[in-house]
Symmetry: C2
Subunit: 687 residues, 2 copies
């Protein structure tokens, strides 16, 4: 609760602060992320079937393909049946002229800047590298406008470049494997919002997803048959490269290593055998850092992987290593003594440094979760900040500590999308907020951020709806100037971006209806939609208490999986209550909504009767009906200026508290709005 | 038109004939395809979280996997979080006991029969082979019922086996390449309705999709980078095998061979170079059957392919070879003379026989489109009937001729799903109808049928909505007894099957909303849904006149692509008109519907204004409004027993005719219903 209320305060402050200074540009354009510099140009350009693209300068095949892809996406939007088929090179009289100085390399700190000038006859897209041009093409696709039956490229002049060089998405493909098509379409989505790093969390206690030919047992015994072949990973890397996105692998060691130990128990810290973990949580199986064969194994594995993953960075995990098996092992304790390692954290550092050397010899820089930071860790390592310091608050302490200690560092704390917080919560987390107190040198070490999609509760059918469109707001945080932080405008543009992403093939909107239809076997799902629109899955780690309510093979296409974070209808209702109480909204808007919710329960009951799988939401649906009735009564009291009885207060407040109870692992999001109505009466009565 | 009216008559007759003899079973169960024998059993079995599966007899890994997949699908439906994770073998006290006598082979004529007995404590699923068991599992998944808050397996006793051994789906992956995920999910759908052959049309004028390592130019020059690698094809074959489905490749020669000639122009009948075809139609480029190197090439290609495709059958195409380049070539004409080949058809046969010998040496049986049939063609070839004889009618002549001539044969005429006819049209095409006049021996040669999904106008985003759920009705035709042919009951069950398939991951329902949202950029799509529900894409080959309105790279996510064949709302409306005119339905049902359509146009107009891509449906939408007004007026005349003026007749009929005009390449499907209302007045007036 702490985190939420803090953030709410931050938002309110932000809105107050920004609204006065709000740059008019931010509401004028539908772009996301918002460019660094944008202003109106001299003329808009008509899009007709003769629209064509010319490539100039020094570029490579990647730009041909991306320009052609742009053309196909544009004719799907406009239905123009462009004559131009493939964009091959220089084309006379082309409407869009893309010129680049050199082919870009998909690597950290590559130039991604671009400039666009739209006139009535021509669009100039200029960039240092084709990667900049590719970013610019995404901006152009977002800048189409309609006037009198025609499509135009909006009149504008843009000079754009990213604020942070590292703008990533981590996908946990271990706890639930994600098929190739899920990866592909999410790379498309990443490119659409100018993200540039896909971090694949390939191993954990629940599964090892890299097909090792060096250690085939990892695939045979520790993957349940779900893994990426070398060829598939090459295709992912190619696909991402084509869109200007790096792919960084992670093998999480020494903890989170059950899958490795299933295949190679001799590498473990305990003399036992291991089974793939089917639940969620932090587990004891840990590699034994005192055994040379562990390093031999990891060196061979990393070498095999580095023939495929060509990125400069390699993530070694390193999180949540509790060292229980280390403490229990006499030989490990003896090793610590012998090597003067004070505690398990020292031993972990010893392990990390050895890995860092191995990777360094392979020309790779080591990255790890923030636990790898320690005095002895070389400064070339990149620190991945995920906890901040104070659990439960979005803090930048570990990020700042790393930067101050001379490490380059990435922020993920505040960007855990699997925890189902609102977009605002994530959007307002700035890796370098005003007044961070860091020197310019330290600020430069903060490379950017990565949003995380841990997959304990996420399957291929639902991952899009957990990622998108919220991820686009974080993408903006990492690309756009820090001053772009108007929450209302973000939500307005996010809706447009969400639709763009659906057009690209993402399933974040369709997944809901598919699940609800599945749950009702073809009956009208409208009552369920009415309900699901005002609930959100339980937040943080509350949905899966102890990590044991769900196994990896449990069904993840039930009620909570149809719900999404940041329920729009609820957010709007609560906002409308604010407006009403401020005298800025007619009560009928609220009454109509509350009437709908009040009467919805009967319809839900009839669906439950035919689909017992919905039994889990009976209370939830009833609660919505009950508190909607309270809301209606409260409005009547307010409107008629009548004081309710003490008994009414008592039962209303009790009901409102009871309505916070989860149903089907989701929570009603309109309790606070209705509570505000009730509180208002109390306030007016006291006056 | 001929084909349609014939079929309508057939339907009407069928309904009359069947309705009296209609087996009560057909309306009692929601199964599709309907089993050969089914009756109620002694008790229904409760599904709770302890539900588990035991495997007995002689089976292999395939059954373990399919039983586990069944368990996971069942717990998604019931939300029960089954304790059993993997189905490993014999399990004590299991609720479902599957026993098989031997592992099946995925080949023609394999035993697919199974028997199910459900009691209150146990389900017995017995089969000769695991393939039969896999078919039975699909039946079980369709037979869940709900009573008083619980899920049960319905009480039943089934003895089932397929009517035809060959139940196929041909996918044209040449004209538009279909990514792996499309293939996978369609294999899942095929298995759900007990289809057992996936026929991949891998080459045509527009693209060569098999990655040939022997002839890399085929991939480099003739695929646009869109092809299946050896590994991918192996994965498709494995995936299909796991579900009891054969995969048969097709290389279409000697016509439809432009893609081959792009890579190897020296194999062509004309001394020229070739370019990949971007339009649809029948084209001249043809392999030269007089050149030995053509056979060397095809032998090497077939040998490479046969290392991957292990199925007994290999399809060599052979359709629509017009032989224009043959006639134009002096050397080919000389060859014909020398070899005593009377005409181009004889030369084609000469070519086919040489291919047949090559394939035969590789242990493969040759299959080809019906043109390959000729006196000299060996009887081991399988004739693929696609034209019948009289163009435009669903005729069985070529099928029957083949059977009579001693060939085994497959029916596709009547099963072309890309032509957008109604499900009924396909459903009532029986490969061996009553009174076929064939001997038992000849009947045995009719192996079954294959539905065809040619992809001139189909892309990955829309293929599911072109295939499903209509394909399920053809699947029933090929599996179930011929007596299962009640159209109303088929439609009832098809709706249930359609939802089951969506639950499996098919996109046939979600594709529509995605396209409409894309076309409206986030505005409310309800008015478009109202309209799209009563239109169908232009039928037959009319949507793409001359094959040149659309290029392969044109946008295929526009209005017509959101429309589907067999518009349910229109079908129901027309049926309701029947009922109303027969005095069996209150006029208000019709009036409410007509009012909605009448007023819809204003809303559509407002969307068009914001989305010019919708301009193409302006007339269509207006027509719906106009004829709905006519319908309302007609009902008023009928109800009030007033005769309209001659002028009203004249303008109404003109408007109704005009409303047959396409809009956005779709046609209104309620013209006939409204016309019946108008006609009714004429009829009553004459009386």
């Amino acid at each position: 609760m702490n985190i939420k209320s803090t953030i709410v305060k931050v938002i309110l402050c932000s809105i107050l602060l920004i609204s006065s200074s709000l740059n008019a540009q931010q509401t004028q354009y539908d772009l996301m992320p918002m460019p660094a510099n944008i202003k109106a140009g001299n003329g808009k350009l008509l899009i007709d079937k003769n629209f064509s693209i010319s490539l100039e300068g020094n570029y490579d095949e990647r730009l041909n393909k991306e320009a052609t892809r742009f053309l196909r996406r544009l004719d799907q939007k406009t239905g123009k049946f462009f004559i131009q088929h493939k964009v091959k090179g220089k084309t006379e009289n082309a409407e869009l002229v893309i010129s680049v100085s050199q082919p870009g390399k998909v690597k950290l700190h590559e130039d991604e800047s671009y400039a666009i000038t739209v006139s009535a006859t021509k669009i100039d897209l200029k960039a240092q590298t084709d990667l900049g041009a590719i970013r610019g093409l995404e901006t152009l696709l977002q800048s189409i406008e309609v006037e009198e039956g025609n499509y135009y490229f909006k009149s504008l002049i843009i000079n754009d470049n990213p604020r942070f060089a590292w703008r990533g998405l981590m996908m946990d493909v271990s706890r639930h494997y994600m098929p190739m098509d899920v990866i592909y379409r999410n790379i498309d989505a990443m490119a659409a919002v100018k993200l540039n790093v896909l971090h694949l969390h390939l191993s954990d206690d629940q599964g090892f997803r890299f097909q090792s030919k060096t250690f085939p047992k990892l695939t045979e015994l520790a993957s349940d048959g779900l893994y990426y072949t070398h060829q598939e990973l090459r295709e992912i890397i190619d696909y991402a490269d084509q869109r200007g996105i790096r792919v960084m692998p992670e093998i999480d060691v020494p903890g989170h290593a059950t899958a490795i130990l299933v295949a190679s128990p001799e590498l473990g810290s305990k003399d036992t055998t291991y089974m793939l973990e089917r639940y969620a949580g932090i587990f004891d199986p840990t590699l034994d850092p005192t055994k040379d064969e562990v390093y031999v194994f990891l060196k061979a594995l990393f070498e095999e992987m580095s023939t495929i993953f060509t990125d400069e960075f390699f993530h070694i995990g390193g999180d949540e290593n509790m060292g229980k098996h280390w403490t229990e092992s006499k030989s490990i304790q003896a090793f610590k003594k012998k090597h003067n390692l004070a505690d398990n954290h020292d031993l972990h550092t010893y392990f990390n440094i050895r890995l860092q050397k191995i990777l360094s010899q392979m020309g790779r820089r080591t990255m790890g979760w923030e636990e790898i930071m320690s005095e002895k860790m070389p400064e070339s390592a990149v620190i991945h900040s995920w906890r901040g310091e104070n659990e439960g608050t979005v803090a930048l302490k570990s990020l700042n500590d790393a930067a101050k200690a001379g490490y380059e560092t990435i922020l993920s704390n505040g960007y855990y999308l699997d925890l189902m917080y609102s977009t605002t919560d994530h959007y307002l987390v700035d890796p370098i907020p005003e007044g961070s107190g860091l020197t310019d040198e330290e600020k430069k070490r903060i490379l950017g951020g990565e949003m995380c999609m841990w997959s304990e509760l996420v399957v291929p059918e639902t991952i899009d709806s957990r990622l998108w469109p919220r991820a686009a707001a974080i993408a903006e945080r990492l690309w756009s100037p820090g001053s772009v932080n108007d929450v209302d405008d973000m939500y307005r543009r996010l809706q447009i971006t969400g639709l763009e992403l659906e057009g690209l093939g993402l399933k974040h909107y369709t997944a809901r209806d598919v699940i609800l239809r599945k749950l009702t076997k073809g009956h009208d799902i409208t009552p369920l939609k009415t309900l699901v629109e005002v609930v959100e899955p339980m937040k943080g780690y509350t949905r899966n208490p102890g990590g044991t309510m769900y196994a990896t093979y449990s069904p993840f296409t039930l009620w909570a999986d149809a719900a999404t974070a940041d329920a729009k209808v609820a957010r709007e209702f609560n906002h409308n209550v604010d407006l009403y109480l401020a005298g800025k909204l007619d009560e009928n808007v609220l009454k109509e909504q509350l009437e709908l919710w009040k009467t919805n329960h009967v319809k839900v009951l009839s669906l439950i009767e035919r689909s017992p799988v919905l039994l889990e939401i009976k209370g939830l649906s009833e609660n919505l009906s009950i508190i909607s009735t309270i809301g209606l009564e409260a409005i009547a009291f307010i409107e008629k200026d009548i004081a309710p009885t003490a008994k009414w207060y008592e039962t209303s407040k009790k009901s409102l508290e009871a309505a916070r109870e989860n149903g089907g692992r989701t929570e009603l999001q309109v309790v606070s709005g209705i509570k505000m109505l009730v509180n208002q009466i109390e306030v007016s009565l006291k006056q």
